[in-house]
């Protein structure tokens, strides 16, 4: 069953084309990695899916719901079903870890409860559960700006998980992390996909990471899809085409010529 269908998606910024007729299908429970250079359009693509960026033309269907025509309430409802994690975690820095996790529930609340930040006991318990699972129990009442990059990203993951999402979009989640923290995050994302059946779409710029974790890799160059297949079919030539470099210059291991 397809959880995400992108058809001929294009995005223009004042005459500059960020995405050109991108088409993509993601099945439920898949782990998809999107690779490409900075500025190739990966972030724009991801943000069009939950309309943080408005598409110019094209259609997007999430869980069989047409995203491009949704109005305010429908759009918010869609976003509760789509989790998202960001390169800089995008947490509220001065609030506690547990409050940031609970923010994932705000999309489900009525106007007043959301405005005043009122959470139910069961929501708070669920938040704590997630923190325990992610190894952040001791930091539950810490200010988020006191955490390390890897810890912040785990809070971001908890915030996405508390939404009980069908799919989680990840915009370069490990780009600012050291290798050890990166492994923790990617392992967790893979685990979420395997054990809970949540579809994962990750933007990465490290090809080896994509090769290691993804069921499928999509390569984007200058707003166009250059490659869309299983990792074992990815050749060095293709990587060179995606990154626009002589393939001898690339530091990529374990990929055929």
């Amino acid at each position: 069953m397809n959880i995400l269908e992108v058809e001929h998606l294009s995005k223009d910024y004042r005459g500059v084309s960020a995405l050109s007729s991108v088409s993509l299908t993601v099945k439920k429970g898949e782990f998809v990695a999107i690779i490409g250079r900075s500025g190739a359009g990966k972030s724009t693509l991801l943000r069009c899916i939950n309309r943080l960026v408005e598409p110019s033309t094209g259609r997007i269907r999430v869980d069989n719901i047409e995203v491009t025509t949704l109005r305010r309430r429908g759009l918010r409802s869609l976003r509760t079903r789509v989790g998202m994690i960001f390169q800089h975690s995008n947490l509220v820095p001065r609030l506690t870890v547990i409050e940031n996790v609970l923010h994932g529930r705000l999309g489900f609340k009525g106007a007043w409860a959301g405005l005043l930040g009122l959470y139910s006991q069961s929501e708070k318990e669920r938040a704590l559960e997630l923190l325990v699972h992610l190894g952040l129990e001791g930091q539950a009442h810490q200010r988020c700006d006191r955490l390390s990059g890897g810890q912040k990203q785990r809070v971001g993951i908890a915030r996405a998980l508390i939404q009980d999402p069908r799919i989680i979009l990840c915009d370069e989640p490990i780009a600012s992390l050291d290798p050890a923290s990166s492994k923790v995050i990617m392992d967790e994302l893979r685990r979420i996909c395997d054990e809970q059946g949540i579809t994962i779409v990750v933007n990465l710029h490290q090809v080896e990471v994509a090769m290691k974790y993804a069921d499928r890799i999509v390569g984007i160059r200058a707003g166009r899809v250059e490659f869309d297949d299983a990792p074992k079919h990815l050749k060095k030539k293709t990587i060179a085409a995606i990154y626009g470099q002589n393939h001898e210059d690339l530091l990529v291991e374990g990929v055929e010529e």
């Binding site: 609030l95 506690t96 409050e99 609970l102 006991q121 708070k124 009442h141 200010r143």
Partner: protein, 269 residues
Amino acid sequence: MSPRIRVRRWGADTWALGATLTVLLSVTVAGFFVLSLRGLDLGAAFAKVGHDLGILFLTPGAEHFTLPEMLQGLGFTLALGLLTTVLGALPALVLGLFAARNLGPAWLGWVLRAFVAFVRAVPTVLWVLIFAIGAGLGSVAAVVGMTFHSFGYLLKAFSESFEELDDGTLEALKASGADWLAIVTQAVLPSSLAALTSWTFLRFEINFVTAVAMGAAAGAGGVGFDLFMASGFYFNLHEVGMLTWGILATAVALEWGATRLRDSAGVRS
């Protein structure tokens, strides 16, 4: 029954924040009950001011002066601003070098900073009026009086710019045997030039507005004085409007220039 789960935290920072906001808010609200309106009809006054502002902005015009005369007044005020900026910048440049923590003795920096704090605590208009006692109400008192804050502001800005010079550069120069004066003229000044110019222009913008104020409040002349006369003497709203537009246009132009300079110099203000 499961225990209550805490969501928010209270630390020194949140207490301080809460206390500050509570005090400010309380004073604000209490003030409206304590301060006296002295029999003013608030509704009528607001209606009048709305009407006044309409006349002011939409129908400017002049009776007691001509457009060239107004431009001359603006020029006069700009000239006052220029003079006080230069008079403030020159000593600020020299003393700023001494006040910089990486260039001068620590005690001297501290003394200068304390002096500046005191000087800036006296409002500019009072400085001008104090000097006017001896020099009379006019451009001398205005320029000299305004120079106090001009100097203080620029001393702080310049010394901080000098402090931003890379420590490594200084060390290398000292190690190669360069004396203090050489270091200053060949390394410190050239690398801070963009920032210094930017700060000076920023102060010029402030000094123009201050000069308008001194014209109105301390008899310094220029367009500020014209404004004072138009509103307090002739009660001519059209004139007030015309003068306001002139001042606004000049201030906006100066602000635009200062922002452009600041952005190209990469200075945080």
